[in-house]
C-alpha cells in the first residue's frame, strides 16, 4: 500500500503502527526534524520517512515511584516546563541553551541522543543523572544505559527497526544539586566548544555522591570518574580546587573550526571547577 519505489511519508499515531511502519518501510525516523533537515542540505531524503510526532505513547514526562520517564517525543520546552526535582536543574539549563526557542519547541530530548553529536547539549546532564534509554522494536523492548547507547560520533546502539520510546532517570538523587555550564562563541544559537554538567548529592556539608560529565571534548561525552571518586566524602569548601588536569584523562578533544584541542582542554577544566563551585554555592 505505501511504498512502490516512490518517496513515502508515513505518520502513524500509535507505537504499534509506528514500529510496524518502520519495520516494513525500512525508513528513517523523523521527530522534531531540527537535525534531520539541516543534515540533508539540498538533497531529498533517501529513505521513506516515518514521522513519529503524533505517536501517543511517546508523549509526556511522567513520575514513577522509582524513575522519571521522559517520553521519546517530549520536546525541550515540555522538559523546561515540567515540574521536576532539583537534580534536573542542569538538564533544564541545558534545554534552555539548545539552539533557540523555536528549536526547543520542536526538537526532542530523544532526538538529541539519537543524533549522537559529540556536542549534544543534553548528554552530559543525562549522563550525570545515570540515565538509561528504552528501545522498542516490533518484538522486543530493551533498556540500555546512556553510556552504552551512544557509541561514537553519530553512532548509537539503536537498531534500524527500533524506536527510542523513553529516557529513564532513576530517582536515586532527586534532591541533589546540579549545575550546567556551556561555552560557545556566543550565548545562543551556537554549537558548544565545551559542556559540563555536575550533580552533587550533599549530606551535612559533605559530598555523598558526585557525578561530573563533560561534552564536546571527545567523540562522546564522558563522566570523569576519577574526579567523582576524589569528590566523594570531601567537604564543600574549596571544592573547585579538587579538580585537576589529571582528572580530564577520559577526554580527547579535537581541533576544529570552533576551537583548538588545547583550548577545549583548558576550557573543560575551567568549566568543571566553575560548575563545582557554583553547584556547591547553591547549598
Amino acid at each position: 500500500m505505501w511504498f512502490a519505489g516512490v518517496y513515502v511519508y508515513l505518520r502513524p499515531t500509535t507505537l504499534e503502527e509506528a514500529l510496524e511502519a518502520l519495520y516494513q518501510s525500512r525508513g528513517e525516523l523523523l521527530a522534531g526534524g531540527t537535525d534531520f533537515y539541516p543534515s540533508l542540505g539540498e538533497r531529498l531524503p533517501a529513505k521513506p520517512i516515518v514521522d513519529i510526532t503524533r505517536v501517543r505513547e511517546l508523549k509526556g514526562i511522567t513520575r514513577k515511584p522509582d524513575l522519571f520517564r521522559i517520553g521519546g517525543g517530549a520536546t525541550w520546552t515540555e522538559l523546561i516546563k515540567a515540574p521536576l526535582p532539583r537534580c534536573f536543574d542542569a538538564l533544564k539549563a541545558a534545554a534552555r541553551e539548545i539552539g533557540s526557542v523555536q528549536i526547543q519547541n520542536r526538537g526532542t530530548v530523544a532526538g538529541n541522543l539519537c543524533n549522537a553529536s559529540p556536542a549534544a547539549d543534553s548528554v552530559p546532564a543525562l549522563l550525570a543523572l545515570d540515565a538509561a534509554v528504552e528501545l522498542a522494536s516490533r518484538s522486543t523492548v530493551r533498556r540500555v544505559a546512556l553510556q552504552d547507547f551512544i557509541l561514537g560520533n553519530r553512532k548509537t546502539a539503536r537498531q534500524a527497526d527500533e524506536i527510542l520510546t523513553a529516557i529513564l532517570v532513576p530517582r536515586a538523587v532527586d534532591d541533589a544539586l546540579s549545575t550546567f555550564l556551556k561555552l560557545g562563541a556566543r550565548r545562543y544559537l551556537v554549537i558548544s566548544i565545551a559542556i559540563v554538567a555536575v550533580v552533587l548529592d550533599i549530606e551535612s556539608g559533605k559530598i555523598r555522591d558526585a557525578r561530573v560529565a563533560v561534552g564536546s571534548c571527545s567523540v562522546r561525552a564522558q563522566r570523569l570518574t576519577d574526579l567523582e571518586q576524589r569528590l566523594r566524602g570531601a567537604s564543600l569548601s574549596d571544592i573547585a580546587e579538587l579538580a585537576a588536569e589529571q582528572h580530564l584523562k577520559p577526554l580527547s578533544p579535537i581541533d576544529d573550526v570552533r576551537a583548538s584541542a588545547s583550548y577545549r582542554f583548558d576550557s573543560a577544566l575551567t568549566l568543571v571547577r566553575r560548575a563545582l563551585a557554583q553547584c556547591a554555592a547553591k547549598c
Binding site: 520517512i49 526557542v101 523555536q102 528549536i103
Partner: protein, 168 residues
Amino acid sequence: MKKQLIELRVNGRPRELAVEPSKLLLETLRQDLQLTGSKRGCDDSSCGACTVLIDGVPMLSCTLLAASCEGQEITTVEGVSEHGALAAIQKAYGDWGGAQCGFCTPGFMMTVKHLLATTANPSEAEIREALSSNLCRCTGYSQMYQAIKAAIEAEQKGMDSLSQQVAK
C-alpha cells in the same frame, strides 16, 4: 515524485494543496501559497528568519514538512496585521528602527507576537531572551527592544482609552 493532497490552515483560512510529501513548510508557503514573508536565511535552523507559529508556538518552517502540519493552525507574518492595518508591534518596529534591511523582520514578528501573547508585561530579561531566538545583522537589537516596549505601551494606552470610553 508523486504529489499528495494535504489540507493546511494558514492565517485562519483552510487551504487544500497538492504537494510532494518531502516539501518543507517554508517552500510550500512561499511557492504554493505565495506567502513570501517567511524567509530562507541560513538553511540550517540557526537564524530564525523562517519562524512561523504552529498552533501559536514559534517553530522554524525550514525544518518542518508541510504534510506534518496537517490539522494545525499555521500563522505567518501575513497573518499578523489586524483588519488590514499594521499591528502595534509592526508599526513600532517601523517607528523605532527595529527593521533595517528587513530580511529578518518577518521572523522577529512571529517571535515577538508569541512573547506578547504569552507574557502580559514582559521584563527586560524576558524580552531580550525572546529576541535571542532570531538573528539580525543590522539593528543590534536595541531598537527592537525599544519597539517592543513602545508597542506594549501603545496597546496598554489603547486599552485604557477604550475602558475610559466604556466607563463614559
